[in-house]
Symmetry: C3
Subunit: 348 residues, 3 copies
């Protein structure tokens, strides 16, 4: 199987915004983290400007994150060299006024603050063509929000597929999410240039307690699963004109083996936020733990065998399309999406 066809080694978009961390996670001290396999240091200058540099002093390869903020610069802990938020060397103390080290630049990545998160544009070579989109519904007054963060020991595509996959809920999450006899539902899959989504028709409300909360009156639910480039996996539920729930999961690839998920549930429901917090969130946690385990087992198996096996059927509505979107977006593949809008029936 060709390497590019695998979920595990799926290409990432570099010219895109990824969440690095919550804004409040960056305090006075520089913060080390990794995105797309790049060790980064984030720091907030004295004037409050946030910057992201590669976490390696050009002088002697010491991590800048061991240093400290010094005015508008970050100062290396080893020899005191200072770098601005643009990565340019501003001071080599031992040289006094001499500037021999102007070319000693640390790679600098654009950063933005939005909706309480720090977003990093992972292409240091060119300016961003857009701004981070942030969380939908965030500025709509009638919605309430919960937020959580979680690491999966799996690649980004496997994680995104898991989040957006419906059939596995009847097995992996049996009893928590769905239960009983499988029933046919209709699915419409819609391809767009920057996203792919699947809408489910005639789906009964989710079984179990989660269903009772999300759609207390029962009945048919509108359900859309959606992947938006580069890494937003979104699950949307609606029941009638009032009940609406949108789970937005921004996925930040740490590396090929770890994906960090920054999630926000935005909702407008007949039940209060308290019920969601007390009942939905603990269940969501148990579901997420089951997903964590199966994704870690999937990845461990890929490592053991030294290669991935993927055999997709028509019921795998989003995974293969996510992979194709990413391959096109990262120029790893220039073919148009194979299958355009499509309808099918599946059993869940």
């Amino acid at each position: 199987m060709a390497k590019t066809a695998s979920f595990k080694n799926a290409p990432w978009m570099r010219d895109a915004w990824y969440i690095a961390c919550e804004e409040k996670a960056l305090k006075k001290k520089p913060l080390a983290l990794t995105l797309l396999e790049e060790p980064l240091v984030l720091f907030r200058s004295s004037s409050g400007k946030v910057a992201a540099l590669e976490d390696r002093c050009p002088h002697r390869s010491v991590p800048l994150s061991k240093g400290r903020v010094c005015g508008e610069n970050i100062q290396c802990a080893y020899h005191g060299w200072q770098f601005g938020g643009d990565g340019v060397c501003r001071l080599v103390p031992a040289l006094g006024d001499k500037m021999e080290a102007q070319k000693a630049r640390a790679r600098a990545y654009p950063v933005r603050e939005k909706h309480g998160f720090l977003w990093v544009y992972m292409d240091a070579e060119k300016p961003p063509a857009s701004e981070p989109v942030g969380f939908p519904l965030r500025e709509v007054k009638s919605y309430q929000f919960f937020r959580y963060e979680m690491d999966f020991d799996a690649g980004m595509v496997a994680t995104a597929e898991n989040i957006l996959d419906v059939p596995h809920t009847s097995f992996l999450h049996k009893g928590l999410f769905r239960s009983g006899k499988l029933k046919p539902i209709d699915v419409e899959i819609r391809n767009h240039a920057d996203r792919v989504e699947a809408e489910f028709f005639g789906e009964p409300r989710p079984k179990g307690i989660v269903g009772s909360i999300l759609a207390p009156g029962g009945g048919v639910v509108r359900h859309v699963d959606r992947f938006i480039l580069p890494s937003l996996a979104q699950v949307e539920y609606a029941l009638g004109p009032y009940s609406h729930l949108m789970i937005s999961n921004y996925l930040s690839p740490i590396n090929r083996d770890v994906t960090r998920m920054f999630s926000e549930i935005g909702f407008r429901l007949p039940v209060g936020g308290g019920a969601v917090k007390r009942i939905v969130m603990p269940l969501a946690k148990r579901i997420a733990d089951q997903d964590y385990d199966i994704l870690a087992a999937q990845q461990e198996t890929i490592e053991k065998f030294g290669e991935e096996r993927l055999f997709s059927t028509s019921a795998d509505v989003l995974g293969p399309r996510i992979l194709q979107l990413l391959k096109r977006a990262s120029k790893a593949d220039s073919k148009p999406l194979r299958r355009t809008n499509q309808k099918l029936t599946m059993y869940v």
Copy 2:
């Protein structure tokens, strides 16, 4: 030194039966284990049939061993796909009656139950040409048996050589097995198509307590060490027409670094089984621990240096021949065995 000449990277026979585990180790839940570097899942269907598949769901590379038995099939924990004991996909629940996934097969290995063990034929591509031989003497009424299982952190040939090697007993097991001044004994080495054996003539009975038990009257012992393809290392002692002891060690290569040994001592002795259990078994355990340590040190040294050194003399009667047998059997080498039957004297 060529890779194929090394003990550590000795070829394995694939078209052969290996012990996977004791029959009783496989309960209702599927069992994960590794043989010849292949992660396997064993399961016993509702009708009692045992099957062995590669431990990877063809759909998304999740280990099947995390699933459960479902009638005659094993069901994957992730999306509920079911596979028969032949590895063929029988059901994709989300597809209902549609069978898009008939080609999604998991590799299936023949399995047999014999003498309390599950034996797996490690060539999934062709049917076995023979049946597992099992343990000799097993069905002879006048014998008693003890059984034990142990992992060595070493390759299979190094482990087999260690089990069948006589000279090391005077040093590594000094005081436990042999002791005092070395004495000459005559050895006859006999090559066969599927085995090689060394018979020792004029060997005094083993020194120490073990000797007293195995041959209480003293005198000359008949002693044969034998390796039978693909992985049986056998030590046989006889004294006169009555006393007889056969230690059969089936070696299952887990991978290049770990070899699992399934041993059975079958014996007919003037002393009762109780004496063997109380005295011989604890001594055997101490001897095995010393062997474990030296084999682990040998392997660690090979890793440290990045290559193996082997310098054999005529006193290394079986190791080089075991390697050659395996190379021929696995088609890595088509040369006939260099040395045919041979007699020599060595000091132990």
Copy 3:
């Protein structure tokens, strides 16, 4: 960046003496250790002669260090083979008088005892062209000595540069060693065939308590930092005709990632050895711990990025020259030293 230009992969001289351990560390039992990535066994024969062999029995790759001393030989724990201090096989017990294994030699390295240490010449192929130099001042009566030993998780050149680098002391060791405003000092760099040294002129005495002890009267200090092939990093301080302190750090590369430092402080000072022991040594320990941490972080960063970044300025007076010396000495580079004697001013 070319591999040979990196500190981490700097070549080592093989035809050179390295300290293996203190003399007293080698007792009756053979001692395993590693130098230049070679696992070695050191042993002292019954007549008191010390030998160093590769730690691998030629017979079956078992570490000889698991064996024992047997007269003038070392005996392998597995089959009792014996090897002399020259690595030649002297006895294969199972063969009696037959000598089939004379060609089974373990590589042998020259060893010397000097100044309380065991020195190994790391080229087993040719006899040493010189003898170990040992510690300067060691035989001068008026000096006192302290000795310590420490491992750095870093390559040898990065460690040597760190020991001999002045500018980092103002930042990494702020408060302990230097403090306050940076001041200009003049440096003269002198290249020789086997060494490179930097002498600092007009340097105020080191700040803080260390300075008070080393130069209680204050005033200008003569300070020379010196690297001598293959691995001696020396720091020398003098104040007037009496006070003199020489820190000699012999670096033994264990491998690319670990460097062992054997240090001796030789001094003749107005304060007694007690004050040095009570005050200078604990401070030296704190300084060494800070250096340990930054070197480990440097190396970890190189591993994370998969390559080293080095951007040297004129204030990096010794590191690049040490690298060049080693490249010439190990024949990795035949160019003469680029820069000859040179004067410059830097701020510390």
